[in-house]
Assembly symmetry: C2
Homo-oligomer: 267 residues x 2
C-alpha cells in the first residue's frame, strides 16, 4: 500500500472540528506532497536533533507543532539572511529529502484540543477533565495544595523544575490547563473568576502578566496561583499522542515520537 | 523646600536622550502632580507588596518600571471588570493616596539605558561594556564558559536558578546583554552574527524563539547560547540605581528601592 505525504496530511487536518484561520501557520513547509511516506516522526519542535533523528531512522516526513526557524511566523526567516544556524538547518532538511508539515492550528481545533488531550493523558487526569473550552481544559480534582499539584506534574512528566507564582501552599481543587503560550494575562486572568480557578497551569506566559497577578492575589490572601511547566513540556505529550494515533491509522508505516531533550539546562 | 510629584517627574524624564514614542506607556497613572512628595519608592513592579511597603514607609510616590495591572498595555485593565485582585489593588492605591508614575520608555532612553546600566553595575561588568546599542549592551570579557558566566550572574544577583539554552560548556567571551523581554528572536538572533556573540543574556524570551535557536546552534557545534535570568531580575537593578540617583538629587526626600521577593518559587 502506497501512502503519500498528501494522504497523511488529509488524516491530520480532517479531525479539526472548527475551521482554521485563513492565515494559518499550518502547511507543508518542505517536501513533495506526492512522495511516498517511508516513516513519520512527530515532534513539538523540528529541532536540528529531531531532523537528524528522522534522517537516521529513514523517516521522510516530520510533523511538528512549531515552525523550524525560531518564530511562530514563517516570515521571520526573511530576517535571518545568511545566518549559519538557519542555513545549516535548511540544508539538512533539503539534503535529507525530508517533508516537514507544521501541525499547529489544526490539532488545537481537534475536539478536544489534541495537544491539551495529550497533556491530560500524560498527567493521568482524564477523569478530572470536566470541560474543554477552546483555549483551556477545566480540571476538578480532590482538594490538595498547589505544591502537591506541582510535585505531581513534575513526577508525571519527568521535569527537573517547574515555577510557581502565588502561594505554593494555597489550597487547590479547580485548575485551568492552558498549553503552550496560552498562559498570558488575556487568556488566563479572566479564567480565575469565570471558572473559579485556584490554579492555572500553563506552558509559558510573559513573566509580568499572569505570574504578577498570582503574586498580588497571594499577597491579598487569595488562592489564585500560576504553575509554569514550560512551553515544550506542555505540548510534547500531545505530539506523542498524535504519533500513537498515526501508528494505528497507518500500521504499515513506522511512526515514532521524537526523543528530544529539554531546551533549558537549569543552573 | 517643597518638591512636587511634577518636579520629580521632570527629573525622571529629562535624561532621556532620545524622544519617547508618541504612544508611550510612561505617565502618572494615579495621583496629583501638584502634591508634595513625602517619600519615594522605586520598583520594577508596583506589586501589592511594594504598594503596601510605600504606604507603611509614609512614601506617597511610587516610581515603577512596569504597570500595576498585569499587562504592558494600560488598556488591559478594561477587561478586568470586577476582578477582585485588580479592585483591591486599585483601592489600596487610592486609599493610601499614592502617586504612581510609570517610568519605562524614558529610562530605556537614558544614555546609556538606565535599566541596562543598573544591571551592568550590579554584575560589576562596567569595565567590560564596550558598546551600548539601543536594545543591547555588548560585553567583552576574558575567555570563560557559559556555565561560569551563569554562576557569576547567579552569585552577583543572588538568584536561585537561571536557565541556559545551548551548550553550557561552550566558550564565552562576547556577550549581548538584553534586559526585560528584549530576548525575543527578532532582537537577539541577529546580534549573534552582527556582534559575533557567544552568549545572549536576557530577562525573558518566548521559549520557542531565541532558546530554540541556541539549542540548534549547539547541536551544530556553534557556541551561541542564551542565558535567561528572569524579567524582574534583569530590570530591578536599574530601578535600584535610579533610587540612588534620586536620593542624591532630592536629598531632603526619603528614597528607597522596594524590597520585593522573586515572583517565582522553583519547585
Amino acid at each position: 500500500m502506497r501512502t503519500t505525504v498528501r494522504d497523511v496530511i488529509a488524516a491530520l487536518t480532517a479531525p479539526a472540528g472548527q475551521p482554521v484561520p485563513e492565515q494559518t501557520v499550518d502547511g507543508l513547509l518542505f517536501g513533495d506532497p506526492d512522495a511516498e511516506v517511508t516513516g513519520i516522526v512527530t515532534a513539538f519542535m523540528p529541532s536540528q536533533r529531531v531532523l537528524e533523528e528522522a534522517r537516521a531512522a529513514g523517516a521522510n516526513l516530520v510533523i511538528a507543532h512549531e515552525g523550524p526557524f525560531f518564530s511562530h511566523h514563517a516570515a521571520f526567516v526573511q530576517t535571518l539572511e545568511d545566518d549559519p544556524v538557519w542555513l545549516a538547518k535548511r540544508n539538512l532538511i533539503l539534503e535529507a529529502g525530508l517533508a516537514l508539515y507544521r501541525l499547529h492550528d489544526h490539532i488545537h481545533r481537534y475536539s478536544p484540543d489534541g495537544i491539551a488531550e495529550g497533556l491530560i493523558e500524560a498527567l493521568d487526569w482524564t477523569r478530572f477533565a470536566v470541560r474543554h473550552l477552546p483555549a483551556a481544559a477545566i480540571i476538578v480534582r480532590e482538594a490538595t495544595t498547589v505544591r502537591a499539584v506541582a510535585e505531581e506534574v513534575k513526577a508525571r512528566l519527568g521535569l527537573p523544575f517547574v515555577r510557581v507564582a502565588g502561594d505554593p501552599d494555597a489550597p487547590c481543587r479547580r485548575i485551568g490547563l492552558l498549553v503552550g503560550n496560552r498562559g498570558g494575562g488575556a487568556n488566563a486572568i479572566p479564567l480565575f473568576g469565570g471558572e473559579r480557578l485556584d490554579l492555572v497551569i500553563c506552558g509559558e506566559s510573559p513573566e509580568w502578566e499572569s505570574p504578577e497577578y498570582a503574586r498580588d492575589a497571594a499577597r491579598q490572601g487569595r488562592a489564585r496561583a500560576v504553575l509554569m511547566i514550560g512551553h515544550a513540556e506542555s505540548e510534547t505529550p500531545g505530539m506523542r499522542l498524535l504519533a500513537r494515533r498515526l501508528a494505528a491509522e497507518f500500521p504499515h508505516i513506522p511512526v515514532r515520537a521524537a526523543d528530544e531533550e529539554p531546551v533549558f539546562t537549569w543552573i
